[in-house]
Amino acid sequence: MIRLALPKGRNLEVTLAAFRAAGLLRGYDGAGRSLLTVVAEAGTAGIEVLSLKDWDLPLYVEHGVADCGVVGSDVLGEVDGDLLVPLRLTAGRSRLSLIGRTRELPPAGGQVRLATKYPQTARRVVAGRPWGAEIVELSGSIELAPLLALAEVALDIVQTGRTLAENNLVEIETVAEVAACFVVNRASYQRHRRLLNDWIGRLEAAEVAA
């Protein structure tokens, strides 16, 4: 039996579509309803599907509670445990971007406040800049921070840019592309290598991940 952790939220649909295109998880319909569902799968003793929040998922995989899972690269950048990341799903990609009220980055030598849900990533971004920033960690509605002047800039996910446009905010710079990543526990990869390589091959062949 192999245990797969699926993300709740925006990456779930993308993940299920990708796995189904690869001929996997076709018998799974309990998305988000049950904590733990056993799905019959050819070539396996069954897959135990675990439904987890994005931010918790890497910990479950790192500790071997789940053998593998799918989680956004934005989250991995914050809570990156010692995980294997064989694939990134092609659909549902977005960007992690610096946003603000104007298109301009802070001036060299300047000091600003930067609002974000991603403090570790923000620190790495700021470390390479000629300006400094006090990181203001928020848990949601990041775009409100520059809008209401809690911070001069924000670092957040941009998907279509519509929310930004509606709030008269602009995307100043893309920092990273964000993708849902297929992650695997280091020991599980040794134990279930044949099955996991089969899944990886099928996801690649279906051109839903690379």
Binding site: E62, H63, G64, L83, P86, A187, R191, E204
Partner: protein
Amino acid sequence: MRISAALPTGVAALLFESARRRRLAERRLVALLEGAGYAEAILPILDYLEPYEALLTPAGRNELYRFIDRDGEQLALRGDFTPMLARLLAPRLAALDLPLRLYYRGDVVRYEEERAGRQREFYQVGAELLGIPGEAAESEILRLFLAALAPEAEGDIQVVLGFAGALDRLLLDAALPGAADPAALAAAVARRERAPVRRACPRLLAVVETGLPERADDLGPEAAPRLASLLALRDELAARFPAARLTVDLAEFARHGLDPRLAAEAGARPYYDGVVFHAFAGAGAIPVGGGGRYDSLFRRLGAEVAAVGFSLSLERLLAGHPAATDQETSR
């Protein structure tokens, strides 16, 4: 006045049954090591920082607890037994009879970001074998490592074997001008990232998928025969420890490069320069310890001697067992 029982982040107090279990496991390991002819080395918890400065990677430096003593000396809490023992033995080696078989036990303290399962204080038991070159020493240390693991892990053991520098040639060939940075490519191999590896070097893809190259010759004239002898060692150990799962996976140790262009991506314990291994144990497949060959550590300390060793974290070895319920931790 009420006194809080809270402890600093990352340390734990063991009381009653959990203390008893840890001591039992420790006594069993010590009996095993002494039975195999290893003598105990008792090392201080504090040492000067200076002897280690040149040996530390940036990551290693960050995890050390360093401070200035009242007399102005820079000191560090013990973060790793192996370099401490090596630096104490290196100046004395000429006067000692080889081979030397030593074991140690005690705490190491390393700074870790606050996260579940990441303690800052670990109780380690380990062994070092000095003065026997080649496979005989590697085989002895691995047999001891597996024998130490077996009863505590109740048979559920996965040991992954590799050797430092195995992929250097493939990584450096892939990183010709205009191609990927070899250290970044090594990190991608270690994380089994298919797309960047396929773009940079299709020959590395087999290593990512299976742990081994399609043809041993792909590794180059130095590494190819070493792979053959490692596979033979794996088979010898598998016959002796049928309950353990033993795999050779070169991608697992892709960060353990020997070429200076790859050294920036060195693993957490970057001194391994030959066989390297680690183990996962228990139902949760927790990383419990590892080891390898580290002759070059002694060379950097001015001594020539063959050296192989391993260490085990007792907390982690016992963590997979439900009986460990009365462990009082800070979190």
